[in-house]
Amino acid sequence: MNSVQPLPEITTTACFHCGDDVPPGSNFAIEIGGESRPMCCPGCRAVASMISQGGLERFYEQRTSFNDRPAADFESRQQDFVIYDDPMLAAQFSDTDNAGRRNARLLLGGVSCAACTWLIETTLKRMKGVHQATLNLGQSRLDVCFDPRELSMSDVFTRVASLGYRVQPWQSSLRQDQAKQEYRNDLRRLSVAGIGMMQVGMFAIALHAGDIQGISTEYQGLMRLFSLLVTTFVVAYSARGFFESAWRHLKFGALVMDLPVALAIGLAYGASAYASLLGGGEVYFDSVVMFTFLLLLARFLEKRLRYQDALAWQDAEQTLPDVAQVWKDNAWTRIPRRQLGAGDRVLLRAGDVIPIDAKVSHGDSAVREDSFNGEALPRTVTVGDTVYAGTINVEDSLEVSATGSYADTRLAALQQSIDAARHDKPAVAQLADRIATGFIAGILLIAAVTALIWWQIDASRAFWVALSVLVISCPCALSLATPASLANAASLLRRQGVIVNGENALESLSTLDVALFDKTGTLTSGNFSLRRVVTLSERYDQAGILALATALQRHSNHPLASAFKSSTADGDVHDVRYNIGEGLEGTYKERRLRLGSLRFCQEIVPTVAPPPDEPLYWIGLCTDTEALAWLGLDDEVHAEAATVLRGLRNSGISTELLSGDASSRAKQLGATLQFDRVATGLTPQEKLRRVAGLQDAGATVLMVGDGLNDAPVLKRADVSIAVAGATDLAKAQADFVLMSGNLEKITLLVDVAARTRRVIIQNFSWALGYNALGIPLAALGWVPPWAAAIGMSLSSLLVVGNSTRLRRATPKTEV
């Protein structure tokens, strides 16, 4: 009498706003740009209609990635922003200028492309009272200047939140301020060198022409004098960094690339200055300035990438809400979360992120901890149980008593292990660095020997020949070989929907040995779907069972209920009650109807048989008199996961599943996807140990994950990828973030990494080959310093040009 039938596949359309699947049967569609656009939820619809009513539909044409799905409880969040109207609190992230205007610094979440910055800036600037709004895409930082007499701080927060972005006060970190300062300094030096180069270049053309056609000593002296003037400024201002760095390292006996650079610049400048002041000899001001400019340019481009990775959402604390409801003076009061301390009575509504580690003092609920432990189903909690900061209260309101301040929470401990992992991460021994010291010692030696030998042959040429050797052997092309390739590969990846935080990881990715995958949220989507209906009674068919179950599930916040969103409910089910941790109960045709665990069903029908053996999440449906069915639910596995894993295995990379989930379901998934090794029920520490163990054995490790618990592992692994729905913390620790849920981007990444490696090797071969050829020629005195400088520049340009092939080439993977 048992009938087992697979359910029909449901095809869905993607939400126009966030790109998630639109639940079948729902209708949130609205008209944008003259067409009806599908929407997945009221939140997306609200944000999208807000955008289209403001006449900003063009945002949708310009954006390069989908938006984050906005929080459902927007209205209740709105009240939370009111605390920022408190002058004391507002003073922490804003100040008032002389004209009485307020300058606020906000941190935004969900800003993924330049179109977002346009949308936010435009919307804010249209508000009455806002004078200026500037959003920095790299830092996700919004600077707003507004008139406090016309609107309040909370209005600004509310408006940004109404566009579907997360917003909180900006906390300036020392590291970020320094990075910004450094960036501006570099840009200043670079621009001065660039303008100086043009100016000196003009004089140089006149001087070189004069060498050929003849020039009177008077004008030659004039040109040289002005060249000297400009070059002095460039050397003192722009090239200062090279001298400082060379000297700093030399004091500790270290030879860095800056040393021959500083020597070449210093000597060429000194000799040219001597020649122009005392007359006679050659001047090479143009070479000095050009050399400085090109080197600074190369460094600037490399650094700019690193500046971009100074991601703002990097602290675990930022995942917590800003406001908590606390029992104070006989009333529930909203206070800033940071003021919470041990013993505070905190109210948690259903759907709230728990702000602090606490013990439940009143109420029953369930907390969703999947981002902590990979457990797909929430944990039931009751009076006396501990709940943890950063997890989500899903079922019902809870009253809890805080056990300490933020510093005592498990989340803070997690943050500490991230910081520790940052230190423990094996340093990527970059080829250029390894070569550098020996190379530089060699250059200096060759230059010195050349000078000595020439001193014997022709003392007047010794200085310039040695200088040519120094310039031609400048490791400029060598030092550009890697960063230029990585920068171009990163740019390609960005256009393919992969956020690149640490492009250096591409080097590790090309020599990958082991790929580790998290389960919940990474291989699976975290959305449940109905897989099997096993009917136990002949009086109900599958559709009838589904309708009854749906009617009950409508009343539940439990993640499993999401599987029933798309089916129609039976209208005859009434008085539905929810028993936390057990199941749902309702009345159907004068009889009790229960949906839940085996125990819950057995309470009214003791004869219910246990569910089938298949590793699914089973829930039973029964009435007073008989068992009706077992419903098997499953966390949806990404369809492309199998292809991606097969691709990895084919390239000789071993695959491992590291899941926090202890259920048999994880093992089953590991077997289906043919992982080489499956480990389940792991704590974050155990995951970390596994990675460390592999690394100690000499393996290069890739970690793909999404949860809070994956964050330390993502930091520690040689290469890490966070998937689309990952927590902000995990995203900030990962080298790459996939913006769409499509795991196939992993194949793309591996492919790009391999191509990048090939280009890097080509670059190195060229740079080293050029040096091998150029140095003997220069040492023989056949290369004047100006030719050496041009040769050096051409060599660098060739390396940069070769690297841009990475940007242009069409990737093999279809995306």
Partner: protein, 59 residues
């Protein structure tokens, strides 16, 4: 050729002015977010007009 005694210093003054301007722009934060600006110039035509109409623009 005596004009060179005038033209070269003039060129230098230009040079100094340009450097001053550029340094000012950098310190003003105009180059802080190069990704956004390169995009904005293509996308922003009608928005700038809106902004100019606003009465409190010069407040």
């Amino acid at each position: 050729m005596e004009s060179l005694y005038l033209l070269i210093p003039v060129a230098l003054i230009f040079c100094v002015v340009v450097i001053r301007l550029l340094l000012w722009a950098i310190d003003n934060g105009q180059y802080d977010d190069l990704d956004k600006e390169s995009w904005r110039i293509l996308a922003d035509d009608d928005f700038e007009d809106d902004n100019d109409d606003r009465p409190d623009q010069h407040a």
